[in-house]
């Protein structure tokens, strides 16, 4: 008998006095979920992200590239990795000054792994959405914006549209219909890489980015409101 059959056989032989019903997860979340405005939700997300050592900058569709480039100057970053032919990557590449080298992730990682590990200062990716309850950014890496972009460079810039903030993880996965088809890799990122493994002392940049920087794109209405 194969190990598989033996294990399943032993499990099937067990008695069950009662058969539990399917847990009502959705009902619990609906009851728990608070009713809040978009701005309250945004504030909740940003507060938690900042508490987890994330830098948050509120930007608009017109000024976000300028902000990003200024941050690169402030942080003395010289090589910025962007996705392959993404609208936001292209936007940065178009207006990058001469002293900022903008690299594209266009080849399989094996072809340039050493460069990625040792010679890239920062990366820029899009967040698909975010979760206010836990202060998390949701990333679904794609062939254009691969998995290692949000992991290997020491500084990670993330662009998030304020309209895509969910109340909690359950709402994010149900509203976006995750169970219909998961990508190779789905990620929640809630701060820079960290560890407390040495005497419970918090240290950032354990293996992943030392800095996580959120560029929060405000919706048009807020922009107009701000301008008025």
């Amino acid at each position: 008998m194969s190990a598989r059959d033996a294990i399943l056989g032993r499990l099937r032989a067990a008695n069950h006095a009662r058969q539990p019903t399917l847990p009502e997860v959705a009902a619990w979340y609906t009851a728990q979920r608070r009713h809040e405005s978009t701005s309250e939700r945004t504030t909740r997300l940003c507060t938690l992200l900042e508490a987890a050592h994330t830098e948050v900058h509120v930007v608009t569709r017109t000024d976000w590239t300028a902000k990003l480039l200024q941050l690169c100057v402030d942080k003395q970053l010289h090589r910025l990795l962007v996705g392959n032919n993404t609208p936001h990557g292209n936007a940065v590449q178009t207006c990058a000054p001469g002293n900022l080298q903008v690299l594209r992730f266009e080849q399989p990682v094996a072809a340039w792994q050493d460069q990625l590990f040792d010679a890239v200062d920062a990366s820029l990716t899009l967040a698909r959405s975010a979760i206010a309850e836990t202060g998390s950014l949701v990333l679904w890496p794609t062939p254009d914006e691969p998995r290692l972009m949000s992991l290997v460079p020491p500084v990670h810039f993330v662009l998030l549209d304020e309209a895509n903030i969910h109340a909690d993880f359950h709402e994010a996965m149900t509203q976006e219909g995750w169970s219909a088809g998961m990508p190779t890799n789905a990620l929640l990122i809630s701060g820079p890489s960290k560890t407390a493994d040495i005497q419970q002392t918090l240290a950032y940049g354990a293996h992943g980015p030392k800095e996580l920087v959120l560029l929060l794109l405000q919706t048009q209405a807020a922009e107009e409101g701000g301008a008025a």
């Binding site: 190990a3 032993r10 067990a14 997860v25 995750w178 960290k194 005497q199 240290a203 940049g205 354990a206």
Partner: protein, 478 residues
């Protein structure tokens, strides 16, 4: 791997406990760490009704998953296979290691980089790989420190909790080439980061555990703060995940409540830095991620716990470690004293299934049954009830219906059995009880002053000069 079965498990456990109790530095480390983790958890659960509601939901999800376990395992297997993941089943540690070695040989791999996995500790993965000439390198900072020191983890969430930064500084200066002594934690972490980045880049295989496996989507969920888990599952060309068969749930929506309970209970975080959900190897067109992916499903005694409806609750565990963080025994003797991969209250109730009661029965007695563990357990495992059950199993009469587990009766001694059988004779017959209590009270001057473990730190037990019966009689005469 052959497990070393202690010949005198009780004495060996006592000796290990005593050595920690006599080491003030270690006791201070553990006490400090437990206070830290307890206060972090408390700060996460300010609303008790929310906590209790979430615990009830977590328990329901785990019980539902276990009730449907064989079906969910088959569904998980089918969905993973459809996404190009090879699924393997292992009945014990030897089979699990053999599967990993076969994968390594086929891939012509000589270097494995490991993310944190308690199941890999359970099967003695590193030793098995080393014996076969394959390097297995730990990449979680705590695990890296512990491996560098040639030790094993003393806590399931914080492996190097028993070490001070001074000890780690000395260890790094001695073991890492070109490193000078520094107690600066940021500098120490930077050293680990530098060493391990090379290891990630060079490794052929990445090994990881699994926190939750989702049957309906064929997804493996991993939580971590450091990013080493993501490195291990993304950089090397082969990814092997290893997990106990109990970790599966049916639906993706079962993940959020379990992860919320897990991270808040474990380290007092609303969520870990990374939640990594993997549903297969690199697909056509993708530029990174492993080209080959495997899942090893391990039994190793879990089906024994599953067979018994009371003990099945042991498998509800999501490995948060809150039970050990709140255990008055663990806080004093630490993780190594238990002598098992999983220490603390959960270790005491899971280890008998993995290793047999013959070597692990003393752990069930290393509890005051205060109930702190079950009070904080995020999935409401009735740990004290199970400890009592295991005590009974340990003292069951061999070859009878009383004992149903591997190693039942291993803790039975002639002296204890004789004392309890005499006690039960006396207490179930009023004449005998009257006679015995008369002799005890009248002969109280003959009570021994040395009463074994009791008198080590307490005054001897001496019966009262008059029994309650005598006092009542006197009162009624007046």
């Amino acid at each position: 791997m052959k497990k070393v079965i202690p010949i005198h498990p009780r004495e060996e456990f006592q000796a290990r406990s005593r050595s920690v109790l006599n080491d003030p530095a270690q006791r201070k480390n553990f006490r400090g760490a437990m206070d830290y983790l307890q206060s972090k958890r408390r700060a996460q659960f300010v609303d008790d009704s929310e906590l209790q509601g979430l615990r009830t939901l977590g328990e329901a999800i785990r019980q539902y998953s276990l009730a449907n376990l064989p079906r969910l395992l088959e569904q998980l297997e089918a969905n993973l296979q459809a996404r190009g993941v090879q699924v393997h089943w292992a009945q014990n540690a030897d089979e699990a290691n053999a599967i990993a070695l076969t994968i390594a040989n086929k891939a012509q791999a000589s270097r494995i980089i490991k993310g944190k996995s308690m199941v890999s500790e359970e099967v003695g993965f590193n030793h098995a790989m080393e014996a076969a000439g394959v390097e297995a390198f730990e990449s979680d900072m705590g695990e890296y420190i512990v491996q560098l020191a040639g030790e094993t983890p003393s806590h399931i969430i914080m492996p190097a909790i028993h070490k001070t930064k001074q000890e780690i500084a000395t260890l790094f200066a001695k073991e890492v080439p070109g490193v000078h002594y520094t107690e600066d934690v940021d500098a120490l972490i930077a050293i680990g980061r530098r060493v391990l980045r090379r290891k990630f880049a060079e490794a052929d295989i990445g090994l990881s555990g699994v926190n939750v496996a989702v049957a309906e989507t064929g997804t493996l969920c991993l939580v971590e703060n450091e990013g080493n888990g993501r490195m291990c599952t993304t950089v090397p060309r082969v990814h092997i995940a290893i997990t106990g068969i109990e970790k599966v749930v049916e639906k993706l929506e079962h993940v959020p409540p379990l992860l919320s309970l897990l991270t808040r209970s474990a380290t007092g975080q609303p969520i870990t830095t990374y939640v990594n959900m993997i549903s297969g190897p690199r697909r056509v067109g993708e530029l990174d991620g492993p080209e080959e992916m495997h899942l090893i499903l391990l039994d190793n005694g879990r089906t024994q716990a599953y067979a018994d409806e009371e003990l099945r609750a042991t498998l509800q565990c999501i490995r948060c470690g809150a039970c050990m963080n709140h255990c008055p025994v663990y806080a004093r003797i630490g993780g190594h004293a238990y002598g098992t991969t999983y220490p603390g209250p959960i270790g005491a109730i899971i280890s008998p299934h993995l290793l047999g009661l013959e070597s692990t029965y003393p752990l069930a007695f290393a509890s005051t049954l205060c109930g702190a563990c079950s009070e904080v357990c995020p999935v409401k495992i009735p740990i004290p009830d199970i400890l009592v059950r295991l005590r009974n199993e340990a003292q069951a009469k061999p070859d009878t219906e009383e004992g149903s587990l591997r190693g039942s009766g291993a803790g039975r001694t002639v002296a204890a059995t004789a004392v309890w059988s005499m006690w039960s004779q006396i207490y179930s017959r009023s004449g005998m009880y009257r006679l015995a209590s008369w002799f005890m009270s009248r002969g109280r001057s003959m009570s021994p002053s040395e009463q074994g473990a009791w008198t080590q730190s307490r005054t001897p037990l001496i019966p009262a000069p008059k029994r309650l019966r005598d006092l009542l009689k006197e009162k009624s005469k007046k």
